[in-house]
Subunit: 334 residues, 2 copies
């Protein structure tokens, strides 16, 4: 079928109306898009910051919509179902990673922006095994960010296997950081968010976290060995050693974003009287996605979003290009 979308035709270009053909395969679902978030990651795709964008590109990888049709082999989805779709569109289901339930590492996976088109469109056709039913209690617009940012930080936190009422921290109070703080708070942990921006204090407190001013590192020295877990969502330079010292023995430092430049690390902080761990988390598996949505539904996880009509996508892009937005922008077909 012909899918009406909005694409960027070349590196750094503007969004323009764009049509592409895609057939409904026997494992696929056709979804009419109702909501698609637009975030800094999409701008990075449009700018080809990672060098793997395939132009023309239809951005948008946090998608909510309604199933309109399904392929012959599809089970578990029906036309009319309200669903969410994330970054990954399919996998081989044969490799060691797929067989172990870690489809996010499949070497033959297809992802939006590199192998196929995304959610700034009227429809999308996706392998139904990467189309997830939205629990009824979740609001469509406020759930869109769960489909990539949400599953990423939720899975990163779950990997830490935290004790009850853990002492946790989040580095960075952008989209990922505020979502992480909210998940941690909903899981019953003590949460602090480290930020250089006093202006974010109110937002941080709304997300359920205490604000910790990290602009002066000497403020943090009294917190050494106090934290079970710190999650970094920073994509700017930071002193990782400062934060490793804040971890208790056996404490864990998760990363879901990274600065472009290498950062100096004192390797001794990882073992000397301490045995600390640093780990990365890359999105999540299909099971992680289901867990993220289940947890969010059971705990009334509401992402902080600003909803705009699709017709204002250029405004949304300009906002993202020109300034940091503390809440996620979600486009809505009205």
């Amino acid at each position: 079928m012909k899918i009406k979308a909005y694409a960027v035709m070349e590196k750094g270009g503007k969004l323009t109306p764009f049509c592409y053909e895609k057939a409904l395969g026997k494992n696929d679902a056709l979804v009419r898009i109702t909501h698609c978030s637009i975030a800094r990651g999409d701008i990075q795709f449009m700018n080809d910051d990672w060098g793997d964008t395939k132009f023309p590109v239809v951005p948008g990888h946090e998608i909510v919509g309604i199933v309109e049709d399904i392929g012959a082999n599809v089970t578990g989805l029906q036309p009319g179902d309200r669903v969410g779709i994330g970054y990954q569109q399919t996998a081989c289901f044969k490799c060691e990673f797929c067989r172990a339930g870690n489809e996010q590492f499949c070497p033959d996976q297809q992802v939006i922006g590199v192998h196929c088109h995304g959610g700034l469109a009227e429809h999308i056709i996706t392998d139904s095994r990467f189309v997830f039913k939205l629990p009824a209690s979740l609001d469509a617009a406020r759930s869109a960010p769960l489909m990539s940012s949400g599953v990423t930080v939720y899975t990163a936190i779950r990997k830490a296997n935290l004790p009850d009422n853990a002492v946790t921290g989040v580095l960075g109070a952008g989209g990922l950081g505020l979502l992480a703080a909210r998940f941690l708070q909903k899981m019953g942990h003590q949460v602090s968010a480290f930020s250089h921006s006093p202006g974010k204090k109110q937002l941080i407190e709304q997300s359920g976290a205490a604000y910790l001013d990290s602009s002066n590192e000497s403020n943090l020295s009294s917190l050494q060995q106090k934290f079970d877990f710190i999650l970094s969502t920073l994509n700017v330079d930071f002193n990782i050693n400062t934060y490793l010292k804040l971890l208790k023995p056996q404490g864990k430092f998760g990363v879901v974003a990274s600065p472009l430049q290498q950062q100096p690390i004192s390797i001794g902080l990882l073992y000397d009287y301490a045995q600390r761990t640093i780990y990365g988390n890359y999105v999540g598996s299909r099971k992680d996605m289901v867990d993220t949505l289940d947890f969010s539904a059971r705990n009334n996880m509401e992402c902080m979003v600003e909803v705009l009509p699709f017709s204002e996508m250029d405004t949304a892009i300009a906002t993202l290009r020109n300034q940091h937005t503390p809440v996620r922008l979600v486009l809505e077909h009205r």
Copy 2:
């Protein structure tokens, strides 16, 4: 009682005969020392490289001997038992770490060189809960290195929770590295040892590992994403990013030693399509010590050692100060 030992009286000094008084507490064991290894870590204590050595210091923290007496409360040990003693001499047994069986993080622990005297002596009095029976099949001299280096690398490897027949690597082919290679091989894994020194090829192969020349990093590019686990025993600068790239998705990088200088790390290598982990391991708990000794006995783990009489301790120290020794030096009372 009066304990005859050899101490260094001030930073960087030489070993001289030294006596100190210590009473047998109700939880203690008095052990007549038969063997004590002497390693680079002892030289670092004698040099006060970490700034926490308390002089006079009796070095030696890999000790084997025979129980001569026990305190009133001691169970599980008898005079005549052949035992091993490591770096840690006691703990509070009340803190959160002790209660969880992780006595190595106890903030009130006592360790050799900082709080009490070590194994270059005729006797030692140690909390019996840190005195471990040596399985009968283990040779005394060849077991001494298990008491600190052994438990450190064994525990580091166990923390990786490796699949059967994993692809593993060891960075550095000194005392820790060769022991780690041997443990990995005995556990049934494929082992490579990365070394800049072609002269170590034979020793590496004796330990059951394949030699990989890491002097030219471009040699390693064909190995990207091949390893489940790499353990670094290096205390010199190295490019951690080179080795992170060799790890498969979900691969783990353990560290049990570190360069003095900070090393630049590309944090993105920890998550992007990969989800890698770096963790440190600091010695081990009492349970880890028992596991190390049990595994070693069941698998005929023989450390490569050179045995010298205690009277040649100055020669041993000079050897350690002046050159790298590929095998562990163990002093023996004859």
